[in-house]
């Protein structure tokens, strides 16, 4: 099979650099161009990797990519996905899928009508610790599930992430979707109610939430309590965090994605650091997407999955506005 042609739609998201490196490392993948309305931020990619720049996404779509990798600001996911779908090009869209229910519904509809695949980037589903946990739960090793405590903390990303018109919110929308997707996948269903709190406590001069708890409950009674804060200080040895403690009647499963690390103490650095050596989930996800074209299987994660997790974050903001537990069906 010829190479799988990939169009990068915007480099706004911090994950773009990693994805580009993953695609460049895959000898079956070919990045045919990058579209972005801001050439300055594309420059590092054109100069270092010689990737062609497009100032118009439709011109890039004319080059017949297999899929468009949408890494724009969250608010632009809809527009870029609709453009790709109209040209019958599949879409791999950065999370969250969208920042409104209507925009996400339109994305799903457009992809469906045009017969193109839509996937949300949830690389955590490829991680062995989560796969093992899912298997253990399905085998009944911890009995009946009761509840889950999760954390998906990180450092404050700044830039467009703290401009709500582009991001859709702060820590809640940035960090809720990963855990919501993992639990939806684990349980095979979606939550029906959400209660959340948030505040701006840690960073001056930003207009979005930097600390937050999002609680959600599934129809089978399993509840999740998530710390989705941007609470990793600059002094902390590592900027990211993803943990899950799954409590069952016969046992529990504790997952710490970044536990596979060396603790590094160097006179060259002003603080201790964790050197993560665990698996590269982004690489696994990108390789799987490329392989899906070769082997002819569907994307592992759907646009609907992206919708089902983003709606939890949107419900969380609704709960915060109204100061009460809200039903997903109300959103």
């Amino acid at each position: 099979m010829d190479s799988i042609k990939v169009a990068i739609f915007s480099v706004a998201h911090v994950h773009t650099h990693t994805y580009v490196n993953c695609l460049l490392a895959n000898n079956k993948a070919e990045i045919i161009g990058i579209y972005d309305d801001n050439f300055d931020r594309v420059k590092p990619y054109t100069e270092k990797f010689g990737i062609k720049y497009y100032s118009n996404c439709n011109e890039l779509l004319e080059q017949k990519p297999h899929f468009a990798l949408v890494c724009s600001e969250n608010a632009l996911h809809q527009q870029l996905t609709l453009a790709a779908a109209a040209k019958k090009v599949d879409v791999l869209c950065e999370k969250p899928l969208g920042i409104t229910k209507a925009s996400m519904a339109e994305m799903l509809k457009a992809c469906s009508i045009n017969g193109v695949k839509l996937m949300t980037t949830f690389p955590n589903r490829y991680v062995h610790s989560f796969l093992n946990a899912k298997r253990a739960v399905e085998e009944g090793r911890i009995g009946k599930l009761i509840g889950i405590k999760a954390t998906n903390k990180g450092s404050m990303p700044g830039g467009w992430f703290v401009k709500p018109e582009l991001s859709g919110g702060g820590s809640v929308i940035d960090h809720t979707v990963h855990v919501a997707d993992l639990v939806n996948w684990l349980l095979g269903c979606v939550p029906d109610s959400v209660y959340a709190v948030c505040a701006n406590r840690l960073y001056d001069g930003i207009s979005v939430d930097d600390v937050s708890f999002v609680n959600f409950k599934y129809p089978n009674g399993v509840f999740v309590s998530l710390d989705s804060s941007w609470s990793r200080s600059a002094a902390f040895p590592y900027g990211r965090d993803l943990t899950m403690n799954i409590i069952g009647t016969e046992g529990s499963i504790f997952i710490d994605y970044f536990a596979e690390k060396n603790q590094v103490f160097s006179n060259e650095k002003s603080k201790a650091e964790w050197s993560y050596y665990g698996e590269d989930k982004d690489m696994m996800m990108i390789n799987d997407v490329i392989m899906s074209y070769e082997a002819g299987y569907d994307f592992m994660i759907s646009g609907q999955d992206g919708y089902n997790s983003a709606i939890v974050a949107l419900a969380a903001y609704c709960s915060i506005r109204e100061g009460r537990e809200v039903l997903i069906s109300e959103i």
Partner: protein, 319 residues
């Protein structure tokens, strides 16, 4: 000051050891329904097999070291004999009964002192120091948890019956709510989930404090691992993390250990820092000076009122 102990289980032994280190305090008598068991363990202390005999004895306070479900009635009886009482957490199995008990003592002008020894652990003193020094800046978010396995000996079986022990909310979560309110003041709003399934009792609560700090408290009873406590405080200038399983400076693996101290043995490693001793010294001070603000029963009632909101699955604005 003379302290009479009611109940001789693992907790009583911890207190007896602590009292030995306090000059101005002595154990005047011990009551247990199984006198012979007590006699095999302790000498030189008056041992009685009738609770009323203990209450008739010359003492300044009675410390209850009996199961949670027995404390309410035994505390009341002690009050009828004119005794101050030091009770364990929880002294009753619902906040209504605790409030009624507190009122009973107030009417008799006696002290009912909750043994909130968690406040006196070395790691909590250290947290206070950092908060006072503003080491990690403006606090934004706190996660705190307490996981406890089932009791697996006959003497402590009552813990496993949540109707007798109060379950994870009254045995575990109340202690952390108290710590949080000690550190950050009153609660603005509370929301929680609580489920009990096949002997496992699990609750998670989200609090918004009046000062603006967001708090998440987890409590798990029936955990299959060992007892542990953990927390993380995140501020504008840094983070403070603690996990009791990582804070043991000495651990014995094997060696014929039993699980008798399943809920008591953590964070005791700090040399010369015995939280039970420090609490007892405060209690002596409190009774001698008539200072109700030290280990105030109203603090416990407040924590229980917050805890009662867990499981309602609704946001409750706390007045």
């Amino acid at each position: 000051m003379k302290l009479a102990l009611a109940g001789y289980g693992s907790l009583a032994k911890v207190y007896i050891n602590a009292v030995e280190e306090i000059d101005e305090l002595k154990i005047s008598a011990v009551y247990d329904c199984n006198m012979e068991k007590v006699k095999q363990s302790i000498k030189d202390i008056n041992i009685v097999g009738d609770y009323c005999d203990l209450l008739r004895s010359d003492c300044d306070a009675v410390m209850l070291c009996v199961p949670a479900y027995m404390q309410h009635d035994m505390a009341k009886k002690a009050a009828d004999f004119g005794k101050n009482v030091i009770c364990q957490i929880p002294p009753a199995l619902n906040s209504h009964d605790i409030i009624e008990l507190a009122e009973y003592f107030k009417l008799k002008n006696l002290r009912l002192i909750p043994a909130m020894f968690d406040r006196y652990f070395a790691n909590i003193f250290d947290v206070r120091k950092h908060l006072n020094n503003n080491t990690i800046g403006n606090i934004g978010v706190v996660n705190i948890r307490r996981y406890c396995p089932k009791a697996n000996n006959k003497e402590q079986n009552w813990y496993n019956d949540f109707d007798l022990s109060g379950g994870c909310i009254y045995q575990l979560m109340v202690c952390d709510i108290d710590l949080i309110t000690q550190l950050f003041g009153e609660v603005e709003s509370a929301f929680g989930y609580h489920r009990t399934l096949e002997g496992v009792d699990y609750a998670v609560m989200t609090l918004v404090m009046k000062c603006g700090v967001l708090v998440n408290i987890e409590a798990l009873f029936g955990y299959k691992g060992e007892f542990s406590k953990a927390y993380e405080l995140s501020g504008s200038k840094g983070n403070i993390c603690f996990d009791s399983l990582l804070a043991d400076s000495s651990r014995i693996i094997g060696g014929g250990l039993n699980s008798e101290h399943f809920s008591l043995d953590c964070s005791l490693n700090a040399a010369n820092h015995n939280p039970y001793k420090l609490m007892l010294i405060d209690i002596v001070k409190s009774i001698n000076m008539g200072d109700d603000s030290i280990l105030d029963i109203d603090d416990l009632i407040y924590a229980c009122r917050i805890a009662d909101m867990c499981g309602q699955s609704i946001s409750v604005k706390v007045v």
